[in-house]
Amino acid sequence: MEILVCVKRVPATGGQINLTADEQDIDTRFLGFTVSPHEECAVEEAVRLVEAHGGSVTVMTLGPAEAEEQLREAMAIGAGKAVLLDSGGRDWDPLATAAALTAAIRGREAADGPFDLILFGNESADSGGFQVGIRIAVALDRPCVIGVKALEVADGNVRAQRDAAAAREVYELPLPAVVAVKEGINLPRYPSVPGRLRAKRAPLDVLTPDDVTGGPTKVRLEVPVRVATTAEVLGEGPAAAPRVVEVLQQLGLVSS
């Protein structure tokens, strides 16, 4: 099986988000970078499928040159090939992102043959557009299922499960297909030392895509105001227990 996984580099924000002075971006000066947990799981799922069925995993990103780091992390857990579409450091809108990735996928498939499966995260961690995977599936005219928490490939079909309010839904689609996964589908492995070394030296293709902006257009960012509360300290250590239970009683959670 030939599998492609699309991942997006995002800052690993912690306890709070700080913006740059022009309110256009997150201030990333003191932050590390990562990809969405959904996308980490997509990479792991691809690697497991290839371990079971043979083939190879390619990872692709549209991002700044530094996104090489995220591609190499994916290679460290088992992706064999990587493609970086240089975004010039700009934040591309979902239409432009999907168009750039679609063009690169078409180029790759023309050269090396089709991908049986293209995996996405359910939504990107930062912009959360819930659409890039579907736009690409429609452009490539392939069936697509999103929100996937369990995936099986057999006899040229994928069987996927997705959470819904009442019960888990089951989908079955023919390959080639597009699947967007959610965290929880698997528990991603930690990269091994040989894996890391291999990833460091592996070749990486860099392309420069066309930007065809389509919107929506970002005007500025805003950190929502949350009233910081001053927690009432009920005590220190186990000695606080009686006071805690008084509060539980006040809240009606323990009968008095």
Partner: protein, 328 residues
Amino acid sequence: MILVLVEHTAGRPERTSLEALTVARGLAAATAGTAIEAVLIGPGAGDAAGWLAPQGVATAHVVEHPELTDYAPAAWATALAEVMATRRPSAVIAAGTDRGNEVLAYVGARTGLPLATNCLAVAPGSTGNGLSLRRQRWAGSLIEHAELAAATALLTIAPHAVAEEHADEPGAPSVASVTPTLASSDLASRVVGRIEPDAGTVSLSDARVVVGGGRGVGSAEGFAELEELAGLLGGAVGVSRVVTSAGWRPHAEQVGQTGLRIAPDLYIACGISGAIQHIVGCQAAKAILAINKDPEAPIMQRARYAVIGDLHQVVPAISAEVRRVSGG
């Protein structure tokens, strides 16, 4: 005209769709003479249309098709696109649910129109063309102000961003029935079966009390103390991503951006620092009690109550005290 995709269960519109209708009416009011029409799809659609009288909907397009017995995202998008083609709406709005986001993404992909998901507010643009909107990024930890200029604006509304309201002038919508022309590719991805959840355990989403555990719990075994307290309070255990990544607990218990959103009466956060991605999952709790050995942990700024100390001493002491006062 503004077209709203109304999701429904057992013949009743979903609350998130009524919220989307509320936003649609607000947008319609800003441009005099704009009507609201609704699209409802699949079994029960006609019954659900009957609930739209208080919503100021002029026409309900009820979509029925022998193949549309269950959810099929591309087919839903085709049905919606058929109504769009004849009714030419200035905006199409859905709830920012799994299905609402998915169906509008298909519509956007097919028409080449941009889509703004999980909007918090929408208004006519200041320059006269397009819309000004605010939408969620980072699952709501960050807000993006954006502009959307398109022949038809595609929008989804973040669940519970606005309170559902009734129209000033209710009226029974006229019903138009629609039988879309579906291609086989529209049905390639559809629900072919369901797996019922295990019954019995207190569901995390419905629990009145959630005892949350993070890295500070230290091990899978460490959760026995949290489970004991949750059991005594009739609640459930929830966890941070560090805990699921370490394999200590299943992902189904994860609270946050890539896990569950919960809204219990009390969330007891034990050994959890309070990263924004965790907070977006528990900020709807009525109150948070943080148990942490670090009085400076960010969770303290979100908590109503705090206990400073080692959770492995504090949690068992609380359980013992609960037992004592309840005479157990």
